[in-house]
């Protein structure tokens, strides 16, 4: 089979690229190992809600227009939103097709799947930033009676036994899981490494609204000092709910905070003595962000009506944080230690020694190959649903330029019929 462009992954960003390509009458196919929005269907816990408010949930030509703009979509709503988008743009999705391998052959990319094989001139890698759950090497040393579970595998607290739960990682995922498991009556110990603390709301507005107002969500990669560092930053401690979910809130609910999990030895988990500093750093960074909001309010001539500053109190660290924990008290270790994209199928010389994709703002180091949806790929918002729009437009034009360059003396074998779908007309279609 042939298509000018093969898009791997029918999540929000792959579909957004499909919409762009359809609009420009580019022959393409979207290969999806499961169903549209697959990872939302199969690799997320039940209670998950988007961290961005509904008003910010938009894809090119499509945005939320329900009656709860300040709410946060639950999992079924996210799936419906993305599914509706796929129908709206008439995306040429082949579902149930798993890509096994991509290689280069005779100036074409050869995409081997568990169904048809495809040849293409351009490849769009849109299989998500969360393909594989990171599990530290210490996991291999857990005693056999302890269940080891990643955040991708976890669904609900009722699936765990009644013993204590060690949640490793205190970013968005870790704090949310620690919260719901503690509420279910199981004692949670939360291992806290480097994290980013954010209040859900500040001075009467959602923090995402402030970040958009200050231009932070649109901040581009050429406007950050250390791109490697910001791409590795953990996701902020947020939950898709009106209330802040920080370490203080978890402490109030009975969660015990410990330092970063450093080792498993002699049937014990050993925690770093750096908890105090990790919390101090997160507090300082949060205060700096909130101070920049205050400054913006002072400087902006069109002041919003906002309440006075309500700065969160410092993180309360236990007087003597626990340095080790006997696994006899623990039934489950839940790894909320981040995710990374899955490139195990990608056999092109575009990965560095550590297996990271080498790219410049999503332009991968092989001609005609593009990535989407990675952390801070082109902008801070690149990995968010609303971040796809700008990235897809820019990379889409890169892709068109690449195809045109090759098209000078070589007409592609097939072109999709123009869909007739117009991006501008469709911009306010409801889900």
């Amino acid at each position: 089979m042939y298509a000018d462009v093969v898009i791997i992954g029918a999540g929000h960003s792959g579909l957004a690229m499909s919409a762009f390509l359809s609009q420009h009458c580019v022959d393409h196919v979207v290969l999806e190992r499961g169903q549209v929005a697959n990872s939302w269907r199969r690799e997320r816990w039940e209670s998950l809600r988007l961290l961005t408010p509904n008003w910010l949930s938009r894809l090119p030509g499509h945005r939320y227009d329900g009656d709860d703009p300040h709410g946060f979509m639950a999992l079924p709503e996210v799936i419906a939103f993305i599914e509706h988008y796929a129908r709206l743009i008439a995306a040429p999705v082949r579902t149930g097709v798993t890509v096994m391998s991509v290689t280069e052959r005779d100036d074409r990319y050869h995409v081997i799947t568990d169904a048809d094989d495809w040849f293409c001139r351009c490849l769009v890698i849109a299989n998500g930033a969360h393909g594989v759950a990171n599990v530290p090497p210490a996991a291999a040393r857990l005693p056999p009676f302890v269940r080891s579970l990643t955040a991708k595998e976890y669904r609900r607290p009722q699936d765990l036994d009644d013993r204590g739960v060690l949640v490793v990682g205190a970013s968005a995922t870790g704090v949310q899981l620690a919260d719901e498991i503690q509420r279910s009556g199981r004692q949670v110990t939360l291992a806290v490494g480097e994290h980013i603390r954010l209040p859900r709301r500040y001075r009467g507005r959602d923090i995402q609204a402030w970040m958009e107002t200050l231009g932070l969500l649109d901040q581009r990669i050429d406007h950050v000092d250390d791109l490697v560092r910001v791409r590795r930053l953990p996701s902020p401690q947020l939950v898709g709910a009106p209330a802040t979910l920080d370490l203080n809130a978890l402490t109030e609910r009975g969660v015990e905070l410990v330092g970063r999990l450093e080792a498993v030895r002699d049937g014990r988990a050993l925690f770093s003595g750096s908890l105090r500093n990790q919390c101090a750093m997160a507090d300082l960074k949060q205060q700096r962000l909130l101070a920049s909001i205050d400054r913006w309010l002072e400087q902006n001539p069109y002041r919003l009506e906002v309440p006075e500053p309500d700065r969160p109190v410092a993180t309360r660290v236990p007087e003597r944080p626990r340095l080790w924990l006997d696994f006899k008290r623990i039934g489950t270790v839940l790894w909320a230690t981040g995710f990374r994209p899955d490139y195990s199928w990608l056999h092109l010389p575009v990965l560095d020694a550590k297996g990271h994709l080498q790219h410049e703002g999503g332009i991968v180091g092989a001609p005609g190959v593009y990535a989407l949806g990675l952390n801070f790929m082109r902008r801070r918002k690149s990995s968010f649903i609303h971040g796809a729009e700008d990235d897809v437009r820019e990379l889409g034009y890169e892709l068109l330029a690449h195809l045109d360059a090759l098209d000078v003396c070589d007409q592609p074998p097939s072109r999709l019929e123009a869909t007739g779908w117009n991006l501008v007309e469709a911009s306010f279609v409801s889900p």
């Binding site: 080792a263 050993l270 770093s272 003595g273 750096s274 500093n277 750093m281 300082l284 700096r288």
Partner: protein, 186 residues
């Protein structure tokens, strides 16, 4: 931060450090260092350590002078007090590492330092080393570091300096996290 544009000088060559960072990013083997010390027993609890060579940047490196450190225990331990106790040397290492970090980070952030003093105190129950109570650990059960810093910076900027120096400190990492130690006899 200094607002008048005058050059901040804490005696740290940040440009050289940033160059080294760049160079070692591209030459990961050169970044592998081995630090060494040699210790000779003198008498009783008195020992003398020397530090001179180390390995790094792809080869053996030698100091211009050999540094000597006497360690002993105080008289209340029925010792002769010829030097700091080894556990105090640990505090020295932590203090020096954090202080150097404060200076380097301050230079990078263009903060002029005038005076930096770190006060360290480690608490220890010596029932552990004396074998009185098996539940008591040998080492410190906690270490407290208090910095007095006089600098051209706000309180928050100084707090951020101290936090960042911990984040990048080798000795802080060595003390707060487990390290595999292999001791052999030949």
């Amino acid at each position: 931060m200094l607002q008048n544009g005058s050059a901040v000088n804490n005696g740290v060559n940040v440009a050289a450090l940033l160059d080294a960072r760049q160079a070692l990013t591209n030459a990961p083997e050169a970044a592998r260092f081995k630090w060494r010390a040699t210790c000779n027993w003198v008498n009783g609890t008195h020992s003398r350590s020397t530090v001179s060579s180390f390995y790094g940047l792809g080869g053996e490196q030698m100091r211009k002078v050999e540094f000597k450190y006497d360690c002993d225990h105080p008289e209340v331990f029925a010792s002769e007090d010829n030097g700091a106790t080894p556990v105090e040397m640990v505090l020295v290492g932590l203090a020096s590492c954090l202080t150097a970090g404060v200076a380097a980070v301050a230079q990078h952030r263009k903060i002029q330092l005038r005076k930096v003093t770190a006060h360290l105190e480690g608490s220890m129950n010596i029932q552990g080393i004396l074998g009185i109570d098996a539940d008591v650990r040998n080492g410190y059960d906690g270490i407290k570091v208090i910095f007095d810093i006089d600098a051209d910076a706000t309180k928050e900027e100084i707090a951020a300096l101290v936090a960042q120096s911990q984040r990048r400190s080798a000795v802080f990492d060595i003390i707060t996290n487990p390290t595999d130690v292999a001791v052999e006899v030949r």
